[in-house]
């Protein structure tokens, strides 16, 4: 079972509302169980470079079934996953990618948000995730 487009759109809309609240224009990407893109939205005037980053954050989270920032803790110089970002056509390993689970705890996809500080990106992705009711 995977996230549906209707669920992704609802999630993305919640993210947009949260982004508007904190005053940052965000790029919001959602991938399914297979790490394939389901939806993408770039808010007006959001950074162009964050299109790719939002998508890569969502994919990174689903690739390893953990929030993107967790990978970054392990990929530092001297760390066990040093430079893992070279794999899979490029990972983004800082916060803003969040795993999406259904009520049974099964992973059904991931959301990636980019456009502000990493704290803001993670805040928006998490707010969307917490509002969901899959």
């Amino acid at each position: 079972m995977s996230i549906t487009l209707a669920q992704a759109e609802k999630l993305s809309n919640t993210a947009k509302i949260k982004a508007t609240e904190i005053g940052v224009a965000m790029n919001i990407a959602i991938v399914d169980e297979g790490a394939n893109l389901v939806s993408f939205h770039r808010m007006d005037n959001a950074w162009l470079g964050s299109i790719d980053i939002a998508i890569k954050k969502a994919k990174t989270a689903r690739y390893f079934d953990m929030n993107s920032g967790e990978i970054g803790k392990l990929s530092q110089p001297g760390g066990p996953l040093y430079n893992i970002e070279h794999s899979n056509g490029g990972l983004i390993s800082f916060p803003g990618g969040v795993v999406l689970k259904n009520s049974d705890g099964k992973i059904i996809g991931a959301i990636g948000v980019s456009g502000g500080t990493v704290e803001q990106d993670h805040e928006v992705a998490s707010a969307a995730n917490e509002s969901s009711n899959f």
Copy 2:
């Protein structure tokens, strides 16, 4: 002046309604004036391979300011633009990419649709475009 996210979402929604009408699950991508992605929607059960194709169709239309299928007429063996598809990281030169203009005739972006036959893809992209009122 470029397409806004609100305009892109409305356009994408019209495309989804048309796709549902003809019974085909589509991938729908919209790029702005600078050929950068604004929105993407994959309808449930739409082909995974069409994610990239829908995005490339939209980009191809904006790259050359003509519908993607026009490029394909010129890129056949023996044609003047043979194998132009090797440029720009990969073009898609069959129908389904349609240029978007505002009421002054200025190009503000493009839409790319993929998931059915090329006739269906073009039909859905055109229906969305014709319904628009930029």
Copy 3:
């Protein structure tokens, strides 16, 4: 001996004048003896997709020391260089790429033009080349 920036700019300027004369906005790229970019100019409102094509035409011409359209004659289905466009990160094998020689007949670079029909592209590239006096 390779083309200098001053020579490239003069050449590019001649190309722009010719393009303006025939009423087409062109992308104009010039590479040196080593097939490395020396100069690039995109005229206002020229096709975005032709940035990459102009650069690839210039490189293709210098890669094989013949005008880009000559490659296209050989790369057709059944031809001796079928699908050679897959090499070198993507070739463009239709007209618009022209080899540049000095007065001794030595190749010193190439020019690539894209933005109109292939005939127009070749016309502009040739006009620049013929005006040169290296």
Copy 4:
């Protein structure tokens, strides 16, 4: 509104004069509002490897609407944007990429300079930017 070719050429020329003054051969790239290349100039004997770097610096600045060196401060090991350089087909996050604004403060493109030390690259890019009067 985006930078025009005439504006880009004037800017690039100012950069060349500054580069000549400080005795370094530079590569100078200018992108428009959509992060698409408008002009490129490689001064004679400038580093070949800096062709791509100058272009990537200009794109990086426009992708995130800040000078390229600002990204590099955040992308160090342990920093919030560690390894962001893996996105967008490769970023360059050290100085030399500078955002270009018009008199209303609107971003209309970016300039990227590469060929000397990062201080020299930034100096040349900034000198061009400061001389502009968009």
